[in-house]
Symmetry: C2
Subunit: 255 residues, 2 copies
Amino acid sequence: MANLGCPLKGGAGKRTGSPINIGGLLANLPLFQQLRESEIVNLAAAAREIGLSKGQILFQRGTLLDGFYVVVQGQVKLAFSSPQGHEKVVAIIEPGQSFGEAMMFLEKPCPVFAQALADTHLLYIAKRGIFAAIDHDSAFARRMLAGLSIRLRSLIHDVEDYSLHSSTQRVIGFLLHLAGTPDSGSATLELPTSKHVIASRLNLTPETLSRILHDLSESELIAVKGRHITVLDMARLRQFDDLLPPSHPLCDKSG
Amino acid sequence: MANLGCPLKGGAGKRTGSPINIGGLLANLPLFQQLRESEIVNLAAAAREIGLSKGQILFQRGTLLDGFYVVVQGQVKLAFSSPQGHEKVVAIIEPGQSFGEAMMFLEKPCPVFAQALADTHLLYIAKRGIFAAIDHDSAFARRMLAGLSIRLRSLIHDVEDYSLHSSTQRVIGFLLHLAGTPDSGSATLELPTSKHVIASRLNLTPETLSRILHDLSESELIAVKGRHITVLDMARLRQFDDLLPPSHPLCDKSG
DNA sequence: TCGGAAGTTTGATGTAAGTCAAGGCGCGCA
DNA sequence: TGCGCGCCTTGACTTACATCAAACTTCCGA
């Protein structure tokens, strides 16, 4: 097991104010937790640091990725934009999460663009490092496969959400997700970014999101204070989700 | 390179009328094309044949998959159903294509169910066979990763389609996809299954699909005869796609 | 402390697509 | 040959959500 505190220095001197420990960061990531120290060293050699300031574009749609990215600090959004200037956020990447693996393996133009939502600190890991790790260690290959599978499953979840659930149900799902484990009682949470971005992530307009949060407040299911939201009763909020459709008696074929 | 015509017989005698050559089938699949013959033999040992009749359910949502499936003949749909009895088709799997890999790697309940759209002949390949191949051959692992990446990319495409394109645009995209390569002139195509299923795949109701096809016919962009559709002018149909949004001048911020 | 830009809310209105309900068409089967 | 049953189409109506426009809030920098 790689020593998390090992004093590896990232490649040659990069443009970093603080001399950050690339190996240590890598070893902390879920994907790389079980790598041997020597393998971490190799990966670190294929990695470099990237700093982005808020709003900066990392890559545009159509870019060929020769590696993938890990967020160390900050936040990155993946989105596509329509010719009409509309924008749809596909994912919000938080520290510890990675993105771009699939497009790295595919060697096809990336269908989304990536933009920093805040000042952000990334690691870029070149393809060769990953391929070496795969060749070295089939367990690593399996973990990589599991990683992509998780991504796939969450995309399928999104598709289900968009096609089968109402906008209110999507918002509730999102809130429950943010609130995390507590199955009942109240929970408090903080929206990870602006409501504008979250609305897009949920496939709705800021106006609609605002109205839905308002309605949920009126029903005393949640309390909203800026980005701070309190779920007053997890169980009741979850029910509300199931409760909505019946009000529109659609294909109830019972006779 | 594996001999496509090699006289491998599938494991012990299965419930097959025709004694089908599992090894040969496997060797033909994109995923397994570059495997050595010995590896094909191993995979074949982990595989078995499955026959489904039209309408039969292969597995329900929530099933744990201990392997994945390859369609040899026929057609399988992957879909989820809402509590209200609605159904959303995620994918239509054609001969030569596979499904279930991601959920096999994840070891989590499958979020969709699988149902045969026609009498269908499948191969089931147990996890152990794939894991052995991965351990044996890192190039195979890479191909598996590329395979999942393709799947991921096409799901992202779906998400883009659902969130950014109108229903007419989605239908046009689908038709262009089916029509294939010809960049201009006319092309003829056959819908792969009933309009009901295709509508669901495109996230719209049968009524809406019917109306859209009608409108496209009226505009003399296509001609519809049952499941048989002729795209009269590929280029013009593609344009129509771009042409639609301007008719609804939305966020054009030019002064 | 003020000013102003960005983010958010609220209200009035529009519309794409869904729903409901008949009716037509094609096709297998008697 | 004609009957009956799915599949598809057509029309009238509904609705969830988007759009447009304007006011309000927050927060930061001068």
